[in-house]
């Protein structure tokens, strides 16, 4: 468990980190919490000449109330999201989800930016960002751009981030009429998601005006399920609606399989967990 030798560089600011990235090109990568990167290096699955440590950059570490959205710095840890009073009250499923990630040590080191940059299909954040309709803010040293979550996650460990870019923050829209929930069927060894179900319902009185339902762990790419969302839209959250929505889940998805959960079982659990998440909001 010893990585190949690399040069460690500590970045003091976003522009500093991006300058280092530019200098070293594809020989370099960013180190935040290190909970995916360091094991991969130690197992020699990855090999970089330079690690640029961005974990102490203060401008990446705040959670800010911007009125109609909350901006979460890429360097905010899962633990800080668990503890954030702002997120607990305005986007409660973010705090719920963060509390289901790993263990205390992982939550205290791992960051939301690092997790989405890695884009593990069984990680929780991609489903949350999709269901929240979040925007990922990316910088390349000279300009910044924003990418909708729906366009950000492009495949297994594959995102919209290009060489020379880094994620700086995530913008999460806030609605006073939203009801949110995240629940997870955990893989018993890693405690990553076999099924993670993120639900974000925009309510109008007793009626669901619009629904966003997204899944982690089910497909190689996290996805929103338009069939489930269509079943919910315009309905009240009663038993019949919940049953119909759950039954529609994951029907058109390409589903993963492993020794803990086959394709058919995973699909069935996506349905069960959809119902359970909705029931929790009813």
């Amino acid at each position: 468990m010893i990585p190949s030798s690399f040069t460690y560089k500590k970045a003091s600011s976003v522009s500093d980190a991006l300058a280092m990235l530019k200098e070293h090109g594809d020989e370099a990568t960013l180190l935040a919490g290190g909970h995916s990167l360091i094991p991969a290096l130690k197992l020699r699955l990855n090999d970089y000449g330079y690690l640029i440590d961005i974990s102490k950059i203060s401008e990446l570490k705040s959670i800010d109330d911007k009125g109609d959205h909350i901006e979460i710095g890429a360097g905010v840890t899962h633990g800080e999201i668990v503890d954030s009073a702002l997120l607990q009250s305005k986007v409660p499923f973010f705090s719920e989800a963060a509390d289901l990630i790993g263990d205390v040590q992982v939550r205290n080191m791992g960051t939301i930016g690092g997790s989405i940059a890695h884009a593990d299909p069984a990680a929780d954040w991609p489903a949350l960002l999709l269901a929240a309709d979040a925007t990922i803010n990316i910088h390349n040293g000279s300009s910044s751009r924003s990418v909708a979550a729906a366009d950000f996650f492009q495949g297994l460990f594959h995102t919209a981030v290009e060489e020379g870019e880094m994620i700086t923050s995530i913008s999460v829209p806030v609605s006073a009429n939203a009801k949110t929930k995240y629940i997870k069927f955990m893989q018993p060894a890693s405690r990553f998601a076999i099924v993670g179900c993120a639900v974000n319902l925009e309510m109008s009185g007793g009626t669901i005006s619009s629904a966003k339902v997204a899944y982690a762990g089910v497909s190689a790419t996290p996805f929103r399920d338009s069939a489930v969302e269509a079943t919910l839209a315009g309905k009240s959250l009663d038993d019949a609606t919940i049953e119909a929505a759950g039954n529609a889940a994951a029907d058109s998805a390409s589903i993963m399989s492993d020794h803990f959960a086959s394709e058919s079982y995973r699909k069935q659990m996506a349905k069960v967990y959809t119902k359970r998440a909705l029931k929790a909001l009813a």
Binding site: I2, P188, A189, S190, F260, Y265, Q268, M269, V272
Partner: protein, 792 residues
């Protein structure tokens, strides 16, 4: 001052929990190098070529050895320590297990080269520069498949991949006839899946050759340092035993996997002489997954017959036992003498036949793992009992009680001779069951179970087990094929000031010997606990040892200590009699002093000790000194037993199993330290429950171990387990001086079937009359069983 029976805090814990332990990997020797093995990623492949030129010129590399070097050196492979013969009397197939492979790798993780560098990072870099050209071949990993005609062969000289076939008990045709005449027959096809021991400390070994004295020192993570020395010297390297010191310092858990003599130990010793420098190798966790001897892996077909009253009529058990690609030290003993002999359980079965085929596969070696054979036997019997009760509409406890061997103490009543070669020492099987049922609140539970309506199914499962510890005596195990004795040695050295050093051949790797043994010594001698020091794990300090496994340390090693203490007291009495101007017969020894009976004339243990070493005023015919060694060879095994009860909740929609309660009443004989015994039981329960619910290897068709990391191999964790409800009864062992039986494995032996039985019971209550769900009971398997009515 009495120490026996008290929960004295473990004296070793201060160094363990403050980071002051001294483990093999902590040892740093001057001029030491780092060794790393290049291991096969394939389960079965021809080695067409090995190119080490780039590795040899890699920075810091001292030397690279390959299978060619080992073959050219004429070193033997590591030997097997137990011989099992075929039914026809032929000797088992015993293919060589070379330190490095030259022509063909036989399992994922097989070693093809050994790289020695100035440090680990450099060795690690060099590993990536070794180019091995493999020709991949078909592999077989399942023992029953491997024994079928046409399966890929592991060894050319083991046809059908069979290492041995073996049977025990009544003739098969008699058992078949009894089954045919039975009122009811319960049948199960079981897989006792392969598990990975996963001691918290990975294996490690340091070879240190000193040319000045032509001496070797091996530091190693061993439960069994003396036997490792014997095998290393006499069978592998042919080096003189008196020139070899083996030290097993603090060892962080073993669960059996550190009993065995491994190729890596021989490699660092041999290579250390070749380069004339010390070499340390420490396994990475993924290497531990691939190369620490695994446990279990039995495919079994078993049938139990009953008469109309529920009395057992017959048992036929047929097992294909996976031994892996090479024979580990005690591998052949586990599925035979440690499994077949336990197939009567606590029951008075009239006819039993146990048939076992030991099979080679393209997998890592399988050997003793906590329980070793007894869990596999218990799993069959106890699954059969609960399933038979469901099938016959009987209460599972009633069915057992009908069949229990009646209470016997082994003193006034004789031991109980089974039909499968054992003589149980003492037992009261109703006692543990009654106590457990009281703790469960059995009647109330059955009412709750019937009325539950929350989307969950509630189930209860039982296991009433017996096991055999302290395997012995040597003459018997020798007749059964052991190539070693199974005694233990202990030296009690009384220092001139009356302080006591004890040199034990047992080896603690988490069991707390430094506390328990010291309690025995302090209690017997009537001296403070702090005056006793336990030394173990160093072949140069301890005369000889057979190590720690099979829950033998206190029953065998503790008894050896008692023998030496008795000798100390006997000689001390002669010195005391001289000093007190009395006769030995007129003295009594209590509370650390000899007293002339009926008087207040006495002399303390300390004064006698000093007199023994300063013998100015001393018996004329007595040698000075107070220092005795003993070898204790037990008369029999010991037989702990118990009743374990699991209560589970099964989620109808997902198949997820939640263990709600676990009750364990164990009888491990007399108890020296209740806290340590309870800790052993707790750990055993976690491992046994782990096998039932979480653990198990997964191999691909090509023989790749798919879950060789903690990300994919599921271990039981604290939040998976309820607070264990643990109690005991005490039925002393009649044949050892402490009356102890052994507690290390009981928890792991009894618990597994109780958990699976509880899930099966829950499913039957939900209308799913399934016979079996394959372990581990991951959610999908349970869910499938509820959909299909079976596990498949």
């Amino acid at each position: 001052m009495s120490y026996i029976g008290k929960s004295v805090k473990r004296v070793e814990d201060k160094r363990f929990i403050t980071g002051k332990g001294n483990y093999t990997d902590d040892i740093k020797l001057p001029n030491m190098t780092a060794g790393i093995f290049v291991r096969s990623p394939y389960a079965h492949a021809k080695i067409k070529s090995v190119d080490i030129s780039a590795a040899e010129s890699s920075p810091g590399v001292v030397k690279v050895f390959t299978g060619e070097d080992i073959a050219a050196s004429g070193i033997n492979g590591v030997p097997c320590g137990w011989q099992v013969n075929f039914k026809n009397g032929d000797t088992m197939k015993e293919p060589p297990h070379p330190l490095l492979v030259k022509d063909k790798v036989l399992h994922m993780g097989d070693a093809v080269a050994f790289i020695i560098a100035e440090n680990y990072a450099q060795a690690k870099d060099a590993v990536e520069k070794v180019v091995v050209d493999y020709e991949n071949l078909d592999a077989v990993t399942d023992p029953e498949e491997a024994a079928k005609g046409g399966a890929p062969l592991v060894h050319d000289d083991a046809p059908g991949n069979v290492c041995f076939d073996w049977e025990l008990g009544d003739p098969k045709d008699e058992v078949a006839a009894a089954l045919a005449n039975s009122h009811h027959v319960t049948t199960l096809d079981l897989t006792n899946q392969r598990v990975v021991p996963n001691a918290i400390e990975p294996r490690s070994a340091i070879g240190h050759y000193e040319d000045a004295g032509d001496k070797f020192t091996l530091y190693t993570t061993s439960q069994n340092p003396h036997l490792t020395r014997l095998l290393l010297c006499a069978f592998v390297l042919g080096i003189p035993e008196h020139k070899v010191r083996v030290v097993a310092p603090d060892v962080g858990g073993g669960f059996g996997s550190k009993i065995f003599h491994y190729t890596e130990e021989a490699m660092v010793i041999w290579a250390s002489r070749e380069i004339n420098r010390p070499i340390k190798w420490t396994a990475e966790r993924s290497e531990s997954f691939l190369t620490d001897a695994h446990g279990r892996d039995h495919k079994t077909h078993v049938q139990m017959g009953f008469d109309k009253d529920g009395k057992i009529t017959a048992l036929q058990s047929t097992t294909f036992a996976n031994l892996g690609a090479y024979l580990s030290t005690f591998a052949p003993a586990v599925p035979t003498y440690l499994h077949g002999t336990l197939m009567q359980g606590l029951y008075t079965s009239p006819k039993i036949n146990v048939d076992v085929t030991g099979v080679f596969t393209h997998t890592n070696a399988v050997d003793a793992y906590r329980g070793a054979g007894r869990p596999e036997a218990t799993y069959q019997l106890e699954r059969l009992m609960d399933l038979a009760a469901l099938e016959m509409g009987m209460d599972p406890i009633e069915l057992r009680k009908i069949n229990f061997i009646p209470k016997f103490d082994g003193v006034n009543e004789p031991g109980y001779a089974t039909r499968v070669a054992l003589q149980y020492d003492s037992g009261d099987y109703h006692g543990v069951v009654d106590k457990a049922l009281e703790m469960v609140g059995y009647e109330a539970f059955r009412k709750e179970q019937a009325s539950l309506d929350n989307g969950k199914l509630l189930g209860i499962g039982f296991s009433t087990y017996i096991e055999a510890c302290g395997i012995a005596p040597s003459a018997v195990v020798g007749a059964l094929g052991a190539r070693a004795g199974l005694f233990e040695s202990a030296q009690v050295r009384v220092q001139p000031t009356g302080k006591v050093s004890v040199y034990s051949g047992s080896h603690s790797h988490g069991q707390g010997h430094e506390t328990t043994f010291a309690q025995v010594v302090a209690d017997r001698l009537g001296i403070p606990l702090e005056d006793v020091e336990i030394v173990h794990g160093d072949s140069e300090a301890v005369a000889f040892g057979m190590g720690t496994y099979g829950s033998r340390s206190l029953a065998v090693g503790g008894s050896a200590i008692v023998k030496s203490i008795d000798k100390v007291i006997e000689k001390g009495a002669k010195i005391a009699a001289h000093k007190l101007e009395s006769r030995v017969e007129d003295l009594e020894y209590a509370e650390g002093k000899w007293t002339v009976k009926g008087t207040d004339k006495s002399i303390s243990f300390g004064d006698v000790s000093l007199t023994a070493y300063v013998p100015h005023d001393y018996p004329a015919d007595l040698e000075p000194g107070l220092d005795f060694s003993s070898f204790y060879d037990p008369a029999n095994f010991t037989y702990p037993f118990g009743c374990h009860v699991a209560i589970v909740e099964v989620d109808k929609e997902t198949g997820q199993v939640k263990l709600k309660r676990f009750i364990a009443v164990d009888d491990v004989g007399n108890i020296i330290n209740p806290m340590i015994v309870e800790g052993q039981i707790h750990g055993g329960l976690a491992q046994g429950i782990g096998q039932a619910l979480f653990e198990g290897t997964v191999y691909s068709d090509s023989g790749t171990l798919m879950n060789a990391s903690f990300m994919d191999y599921s271990m039981p964790r604290a939040d998976d387990l309820p607070n264990f409800e643990v109690d005991r009864t005490v039925t002393p062992c009649p044949h050892n001086p402490l009356g102890v039986k052994g507690a290390g494995e009981a928890g792991c032996i009894g618990s597994t079937p109780a958990v699976v039985n509880a899930v099966i019971d829950a499913l039957w209550k939900g209308g799913h009359e399934v016979k079996d769900i394959q372990m581990p009971l991951i959610s999908e398997r349970v869910w499938n069983a509820m959909q299909n009515g079976s596990s498949n």
